[in-house]
């Protein structure tokens, strides 16, 4: 929590540590597990989820190109993860008011990454391992160890919103 408190919308950051990948199908499955009171594939407390479905890796690479996918498709599922301790999400595109409210209430930051930098982002991934839902292929949950992964704070803990503020600043 102390790591995300100083962050403000518009800050350029470099993420180092663990990211868990999850997109549409993995979120739908986590939702079913939560509803059935079954354990999730990883403990959400203090973790960061990256909305991506990587391309296959060429030999010698930990992961294939992996840019962010549109986060709004995960909006119906994100609040239940944020309530359970998720502290960060990495994706692209706007979030719903319900997600933003859950983020402010429980403490979670939304980071933007640039989809068209997928090959560069994959270079920041030093280790990658499928930890759950292997049958989902590119949509399986991967545990990534990243170094200096470039991102921008889009939504901070205090209502700051880079998408809204950036558009207002540059509108003519």
């Amino acid at each position: 929590m102390e790591d995300i408190e100083p962050l403000r919308a518009g800050d350029i950051v470099r993420l180092s540590g663990v990211l868990y990948t999850a997109r549409d199908a993995a979120h739908a499955r986590m939702k079913r597990e939560i509803e059935a009171d079954e354990p999730l594939p990883f403990d959400l407390e203090g973790q960061v989820v990256y909305f991506t479905g990587p391309a296959p890796a060429r030999p010698g690479h930990a992961l294939g190109p992996a840019g962010p996918t549109t986060a709004s498709r995960m909006d119906p599922h994100s609040p239940m993860l944020v309530e359970r301790g998720l502290r960060g999400m990495v994706g692209k595109g706007s979030r719903s008011e319900a997600v933003l409210e859950a983020m402010r209430e429980h403490g979670c930051v939304y980071f933007g990454a640039v989809e068209g930098t997928a090959a560069l982002l994959a270079d920041c991934v030093k280790e990658a391992e499928v930890i759950a839902y292997e049958d989902l292929g590119a949509e399986a949950i991967h545990r990534l160890f990243v170094e200096e992964f470039p991102a921008v704070v889009v939504n901070d803990l205090y209502g700051g919103d880079l998408y809204r503020e950036g558009r207002e600043r540059w509108r003519r």
């Binding site: 190109p65 595109g93 989809e115």
Partner: protein
């Protein structure tokens, strides 16, 4: 009649899948460089610089520019004096997609149906539009269509009385609504005319035009410039972080329509604008 072997179509399609996904078109790269020079936001410039750097890395290593290697969309101009031998053209294209997506380390993103979401495993079927053409040539134009921006596309059936003003407002509103979700800077395909589905196909085909090449009709070319200025006044900017470069190009394609109709389709393409073509 000129004979073209089905397996040569498969080869060409395989190569197009890999080329389009790993090498951004020269005209698109030039448009990105122009946008870098014109962008006023520092963060916006940083985003465009990273896009150009990513394009370089993708080309050098022959890896996908973007992990969403999309729908494999083809526009096929099939000469009337061509006979395909040794197989069916549709099956030949699908086999080329199968091989290209496997051998090129490209993501397989197609599911069996919107309801049965089982992955087809090889990115088939390709989405193919056939256009009869005179002569004995066969031209394949591929568009790699990512879903994030396709999802933000829209179609509206205006009336003749609503006309051009409504069309312009609708194009800009579609981009406002897409905001950061469609991964700007965008290439914007606009199709006007025809019945319902014709406008949508035209909007998609408009995306295959070399980036920024104006419509040969001066009136439509003027409309493209006007729309581009209005879109870039929205402030959405590169990656939606705010800026002056929200779109790189607007391509408008027109077709005759009905006395009662003014259909408008807007198909958005993200900064990963990927197209390539081959002639057999």
């Amino acid at each position: 009649m000129r004979e073209i072997a089905a397996n040569s179509i498969t080869e060409a399609v395989r190569d197009l899948c890999i080329e389009a996904n790993t090498r951004l078109p020269r005209e698109h790269l030039a448009a990105l460089r122009r946008a870098l020079g014109a962008e006023e936001s520092e963060l916006g410039r940083e985003v465009i610089e990273r896009l150009l750097e990513n394009a370089e890395v993708a080309r050098e290593r022959c890896v996908a520019f973007c992990q969403d290697t999309g729908y494999a969309v083809f526009f096929v101009e099939l000469g009337s004096e061509v006979r395909i031998s040794g197989g069916d053209i549709g099956a030949a294209i699908d086999e080329g997609v199968r091989r290209g997506y496997d051998e090129g380390y490209l993501r397989k993103s197609m599911v069996k149906s919107p309801i049965d979401r089982t992955n087809t495993g090889d990115n088939t079927p390709a989405v193919v539009y056939y256009e009869p053409a005179p002569g004995d040539g066969l031209k394949l134009t591929m568009l790699v269509k990512g879903a994030g921006c396709d999802n933000m596309s829209a179609l509206e059936m205006f009336t003749p009385a609503e006309g051009l003003q409504a069309m312009k407002r609708f194009v800009v509103e579609t981009i406002e609504r897409a905001g950061p979700n469609a991964s700007p800077p965008l290439t914007v395909g606009v199709g006007i005319g025809g019945p319902f589905e014709k406008a949508a196909v035209l909007a998609k085909k408009a995306l295959t035009r070399p980036s920024g090449e104006p419509n040969p009709d001066p009136e439509l070319a003027g409309l493209e410039r006007e729309l581009l200025d209005e879109i870039n006044a929205t402030g959405i900017g590169p990656a939606g972080y705010g800026g002056t470069q929200t779109a790189l190009a607007v391509h408008v394609e027109s077709f005759p329509t009905h006395i009662a109709a003014f259909p408008v389709a807007v198909n958005l393409d993200c900064h990963s604008h990927r197209t390539a073509s081959a002639e057999l």
